[in-house]
Amino acid sequence: MSPDGTIVATRVWKRFLADRPSGQLRDQLGQIHRRLRPRCRDWTWALRDVGLEIAPGESVGLIGSNGSGKSTLLKILTRVMNPYAGSVEVTGRVGALIEVRGGIHPELTGRENIYLYGSLLGLSRAHISSRFDRIVAFAELEPAVDRQVKFFSSGMQMRLGFAVAAFLESDVLLVDEVLAVGDASFQQRCLDRMRHVLDQGTTLVFVSHDLAVVEGTCSRGVWLDDGVVRADGPVREVLAAYRGAIEETAERVVDVEGVLTLVQAAVTHPQGGPPRSGEQLDVRLLVDSPESLNGKICVGVSQGTAAPIFLLKRPSVLGEGRTEVRCSISSLPLPGGRFYLWVGIFANRRDLLAWHPAAQFDVVGPELTPAPRGIVCLAPVHVGARWDFDRP
């Protein structure tokens, strides 16, 4: 028997019917003759051969694009769903926050819901009572706790759900993309709480599309792609691989629209070679234009997503034919790693050149300062600094 808080998933497979039968008799009758020829049924695999071993106290961030099987995997870990093949073993008590209003009944008051939700998660009444005040305080529900939940705002409902799950003191906490609803200060307190729970030795599996939060909370990353574990390892490496893949998809998907054509985009160090942290960086663009146009040239650097770390913008006139645009950054504020150059040219009412990734480049320099767990750095920026300590 493994210690409490261990998750072992071995070769897990899960499939769904692509055309789900509606559960009506006439559809089911239609199924019968199809069932005689099983090959006719359209199964799609949601998870394929997923293997995962998580030790007690580990914090794992589950990432991947929509429909990659993250939520399905969480449901299988909570035993809500059975896998089609393979085996899953989760020891200890599992607290799950799969959806904001998962266990909340709108007709009941906040107080009644806390007890209901607690018992759903396997807690005794005495146990809930002893934590009741802390749950209410954490969720900031003091004035509303005896009000029916249907009169709560969606943020209050979300806080209620998170507070109950977080104060459970379970051995395993599974959290699916739920923090998005809360305001910034509540999100921060949720992250604090998750860090606290981790310090107590709880195993955390966290699903989020907010990569910065995953990086700030989890030490290990698991990237699911189309139901397959594409990468599993230290969160920084997995996120880098994932961001790179987003970039590739973006490059493939974005059919660059606009009257202008970007012929070439290059990012270099003035003395040649790769760019370096804190030193000058040169960006060179070659743009073809069919006519003389006014536009704002935007150049941004991102880690893969369309949201850049920083952005440079300049209004300009592009003459007919080819124009070479050069832009120099005097001191590059990026740590070592892989980055992407995004380019777009915009006029008042239309995109002359759509926002798209134009080039990728590797920066040579020091590693990004790792933030303490629970603190989320919005942008990976490298800032040179000098520290002094004096004893007056």
């Binding site: 070769r11 497979w13 769904f16 789900r20 509606s22 559960g23 009506q24 008799l25 089911q28 695999w45 394929r48 051969d49 449901k75 909570t78 035993r79 809500v80 769903m81 059975n82 896998p83 089609y84 093949a85 393979g86 085996s87 599992v94 799950a96 799969i98 959806e99 209003r101 998962g102 266990g103 009944h105 007709e107 009941l108 009644e112 007890y115 209901l116 018992s119 759903l120 998660l121 396997g122 005794s124 009444r125 029916q148 792609d225 397959v228 574990v229 594409r230």
Partner: protein, 281 residues
């Protein structure tokens, strides 16, 4: 670089859910507080905006009793062995209302709680069981009207009423079994929900609620009791509480046998199908 994965799992990997009834019963026992909380939730939510509140639990069987007394008894003179007909009918209506309420609450419970089923793990039986508990609370409330009827007609239960717990056990076993079967079937096949209303209407007439066991020819009673365990149970209630007789043990045995088969078989059926609930709900 995408890792290569075979197109399907090897057959020996197939996940086999363990259906161990003894373990499942232990699981439900551990979740008994959850059953209580869910039942409480049902009751609270149901009566939150209703003025009459718990009185509704009494109104339903009493209204049926009044209807039976006014119409049925007038046209078809039901033999009641000297017991006032309203009392005779109400003693049949109490178990029937419990059965019917349990089946409609519990039967639809998995579907009604599908949002919960998809998010939180718990033994799934708790939802239909909570429905049965709610019906039980309503039934206990409706007992008050029985006390009122006793006072009204100046009679009281006979000493033979000590057998009531035995009858109750058979009744609950049968009710729970049927509720489990319907609750899980409804999720897979939504038509069952419509069929359920029909079954309940039909059952009210196929069970000796408005009439007595005397309406059934003696040679058919054993088969009748085996098919519908509620018949010997209701007959037993009347014999023990109103007539001062012991239950018909032969009929009750036949009914109990069916009830146990339905309970065990229904539970096994439920456990077999519950694994796929999250896939279809």
């Amino acid at each position: 670089m995408k890792p290569s994965v075979p197109p399907g799992p090897p057959p020996e990997l197939r996940f086999k859910p363990r259906t161990n009834l003894a373990g499942a019963v232990r699981g439900v026992w551990r979740a008994r507080q959850l059953v209580r909380t869910l039942a409480e939730r049902e009751l609270r939510a149901r009566y939150k905006q209703a003025v009459l509140g718990f009185a509704w639990a009494i109104v339903t069987p009493v209204a049926l009793m009044v209807a039976f007394s006014l119409f049925l008894n007038r046209f078809a003179d039901v033999p009641t062995r000297g017991v006032p007909y309203p009392l005779f009918a109400y003693v049949g209506l109490l178990p029937w209302t419990f059965f019917s309420a349990a089946l409609s609450n519990g039967g639809g419970s998995l579907l009604a709680n599908s949002s919960l089923l998809n998010k939180v793990y718990c033994p799934r039986e708790v939802f239909p069981l909570a429905g049965v508990v709610v019906a039980g609370v309503d039934g206990a409330t409706a007992l008050l009207a029985l006390v009122g009827l006793f006072l009204l007609f100046g009679v009281g239960p006979t000493a033979e009423a000590v057998w009531v717990p035995v009858l109750l056990a058979v009744q609950v076993a049968f009710t729970v079994g049927i509720t489990l079967v319907f609750s899980v079937s409804i999720v897979y096949l939504r038509d069952v929900r419509h069929a359920l209303a029909l079954v309940l209407q039909f059952g009210l007439f196929a069970t000796p609620v408005a009439y007595g066991m005397e309406a059934v020819p003696e040679r058919l009673r054993l088969v009748y009791s085996a098919v519908n365990p509620l018949a010997p149970v209701i007959d037993g209630y009347r014999r023990t509480v109103l007539f001062g007789q012991a239950p018909r043990w032969d009929l009750l045995a036949a009914g109990s046998l069916t009830a146990v088969v339905v309970l065990v078989g229904g539970y096994a059926y439920f456990k077999r199908l519950e694994g796929g609930l999250a896939d279809v709900a």
